[in-house]
């Protein structure tokens, strides 16, 4: 039997039962289970939104069939367990995902339930902006077709609804025209955050994709240095090539990821770029999914697992980024990865969506017990002072009070929950049974 952990492998959770799903026409009645249910796709949510301790996990990875693809309009309909990787293998070289997160190993159902975003948020918004319709299976209403016109409230509640509004059976979404599998990519070194914000502002108009890697292991005058990455689709290069083959991941001893090794890696990565700026044509898999190269890279953190903290703050409060980096530098925590991006103003139809105009920073930390949690709690204090919001799909630890401050619309969402659906996350951040009518 597969293990059903979340991507951060913290917290550990034990479902009472796992039910693999293979056919839309053969989904069991959710009311037959004595425990609450939750759909589990590829387990790429970092925290506990995809976990259901003591409950039933419905494994949707067998629902991996396409239903319809109009190669003239780029409209694709598929079952909810289809991965972004399968979509790309089908659609390229003519069509590309409208929005993609940093891994292609997520399901379409998961992309909708977490309303994922990517390097083109400033142009295209989140994944939910490109969803035309889907069908939900609910324990109380059976099959419900949802679109911006039909059952539009349930449509909005499901986008970013953390999988709690029922099971997405299939979805239809709009792909975008592509000119092949290659990306014209430019990398620019910057020494301070102000330069990043200038680069980002100057790139928004002419570059479809922008993001930055920060050297989060440096302190003092080096704080805020990093590499700004921007790119556009390229029509040059062979049209049918695949990216590099994956390398195996393994459960490493915990000392592999420690302060000296991370500092050395970051130093080497930052300085591997000798020139201030470089231009390359890179394969889309390398551009969008560098971490997918190592299968199960999350296991490199060892048994303890890791946390990701991703927030967004309004653009005028962007000094929060420096404040957070400073908190890290003054703590004993090891930040292994930090990714910075300026979101645009395209708003999502999702009720509980995370992406919104502002600056977003994602930070990875090996889980080292209470001190790691304390640091995240200090971040939360900064967020609340500055109108910040934390991304539930990445979260394993925020308090109920923090969640309800970030997402006051949670009460509205609770009107749309499927009465048989629950997750560890939802039990943690909302009052017990308070969400049930």
């Amino acid at each position: 039997m597969n293990s059903y952990t979340s991507w951060g492998r913290y917290p550990r959770s034990h479902p009472a039962e796992v039910v693999p799903l293979s056919w839309i026409s053969r989904i069991p009645d959710f009311n037959q289970f004595s425990h609450p249910v939750l759909v589990y796709g590829k387990g790429r949510s970092y925290g506990d939104t995809c976990l259901n301790d003591g409950g039933v996990l419905l494994d949707s990875s067998g629902l991996d069939r396409f239903i319809q693809f109009d190669t003239h309009t780029g409209v694709l309909r598929c079952e909810s367990g289809v991965t972004l990787q399968s979509v790309l293998r089908l659609s390229l070289p003519d069509w590309f995902l409208p929005v993609t997160p940093g891994t292609q190993f997520v399901t379409i159902g998961g992309a909708i339930a977490n309303d994922v975003h990517g390097k083109n948020h400033h142009r295209a918004g989140s994944f939910g902006c490109h969803v035309r319709s889907f069908e939900l299976l609910r324990s109380d209403k059976g099959r419900v077709f949802c679109s911006p016109e039909e059952n539009k409230d349930l449509f909005a509640a499901t986008i970013g609804g953390l999988g709690l509004t029922g099971m997405i059976l299939w979805a239809e979404f709009q792909l975008k025209r592509a000119s092949g599998p290659w990306i014209e990519c430019e990398q620019i070194r910057f020494e301070k955050l102000d330069t990043f914000f200038e680069l980002s502002a100057a790139s928004d108009e002419n570059y479809e994709y922008t993001v930055a890697w920060l050297d989060c292991a440096s302190a003092g005058h080096k704080l805020g240095r990093g590499i700004f990455i921007r790119g556009n689709h390229s029509s040059a290069g062979p049209q049918d090539s695949h990216g590099p083959l994956p390398l195996p991941g393994f459960e490493a001893p915990e000392m592999l990821i420690s302060r000296p090794t991370v500092r050395a890696f970051n130093w080497a990565y930052f300085n591997s770029q000798f020139r201030e700026s470089t231009r390359n044509r890179v394969h889309y898999e390398k551009f969008f999914y560098p971490l997918d190269r190592v299968a199960e890279w999350n296991r490199l953190y060892g048994q303890r697992g890791f946390l990701q903290y991703q927030f967004v703050v309004p653009y005028q409060n962007r000094e929060v980024v420096a404040e957070v980096l400073d908190l890290i530098a003054r703590s004993r925590e090891v930040c292994t990865l930090s990714v910075l991006k300026v979101f645009g103003s395209v708003s999502s139809p999702g009720l509980l969506s995370f992406p919104r105009p502002g600056v977003t920073l994602a930070l990875d930390f090996p889980y080292q017990g209470q001190p790691t949690l304390d640091l995240c709690e200090r971040f939360d204090q900064v967020m609340k002072r500055n109108g910040g919001v934390v991304y539930p799909a990445k979260d394993a630890r925020m308090s109920a009070e923090s969640f309800q401050t970030y997402f006051p619309q949670w009460k509205e969402l609770s009107n749309f929950l499927d009465p048989r659906f629950e997750s560890d996350f939802w039990r943690r951040v909302t009052p017990t049974n308070g969400n049930r009518q």
């Binding site: 597969n2 293979s22 839309i24 067998g62 069939r65 396409f66 239903i67 319809q68 079952e79 089908l90």
Partner: protein
């Protein structure tokens, strides 16, 4: 050249993945399965994945009287057939088949008799057109009887012997018969069993079947290391084998 391929048991986990490989090369696919809703879902998927044409035929393959009609339709719809895959099967509950003769007969029907009957009709078609590949999914379980699944294993052993003989019969006609013996595969058929590191995905198994159909080998283990595992298992003397509790 567009291949015309018949898939019997098209909704099985392995067959679906093999069909996807054929769809990617824009083959024409004739799918046979029992459940019409599953069949429709598989057909839609294969069309999107590039199959030039997909025909479906709903049938219970344990109804032998339908076999001639199924094979005739599959062979006539595109005026000939380049390959056929017999992929249907079931893993019966060993405890149940030991007690209930009807369940026992049903297990042997599904895993042996229906496959033989379909093969006979296909042999006639392939022999007449003097070309074609007949691929049958056997199992490593057929290589040695084990207490946990010897009924299933005996059907798969019989299929192996049958395929070897049929291969010789069809050799002069230039028709290939390939027997594929998968080891442990994660599919809906095995989802209730505890799985270990030797399990491979249905996707990997399906691709292996596809490659076996196009390769010159006549017996293929999936993955190939099962050939060596089974060579060892077959060579273990009975008194020791009895103690292994396999």
């Amino acid at each position: 050249m567009t291949r015309r391929v018949l898939i019997l048991g098209a909704t099985s986990g392995i067959a679906q993945e093999t069909s996807r490989c054929f769809a990617a090369e824009h083959a024409k696919l004739f799918l046979v399965a029992r459940d019409p809703q599953k069949l429709a879902a598989v057909a839609e998927d294969l069309k999107v994945r590039g199959a030039e044409a997909v025909e479906t035929h709903q049938a219970d393959l344990n109804a032998y009287s339908d076999h001639p009609a199924i094979i005739n339709r599959a062979a006539s719809v595109w005026q000939g057939l380049d390959a056929a895959l017999i992929a249907h099967g079931s893993l019966p509950d060993q405890a149940l088949v030991e007690k209930d003769s009807l369940v026992l007969r049903d297990a042997l029907d599904t895993n042996y008799f229906s496959a033989v009957s379909l093969s006979m009709h296909l042999a006639t078609v392939f022999e007449a057109q003097r070309s074609g590949v007949l691929a049958i999914i056997g199992s490593v379980a057929g290589d040695r009887g084990r207490r946990s699944n010897y009924v299933y294993g005996s059907a798969k052993a019989a299929i192996a012997t049958f395929a070897a003989g049929l291969r010789l019969r069809l050799l002069p006609a230039g028709v290939k018969v390939v027997l594929i013996k998968p080891g442990w595969v994660s599919t809906p058929m095995t989802e209730h069993l505890p799985q270990n590191f030797l399990y491979i995905s249905a996707q990997k198994a399906g691709r292996g079947v596809y490659q076996a159909i196009t390769s010159p080998t006549s017996v293929v283990y999936l993955p190939s290391y099962w050939k060596w595992i089974m060579a060892i298992i077959r060579s273990v003397p009975e008194p020791i084998f009895a103690k292994l509790k396999l």
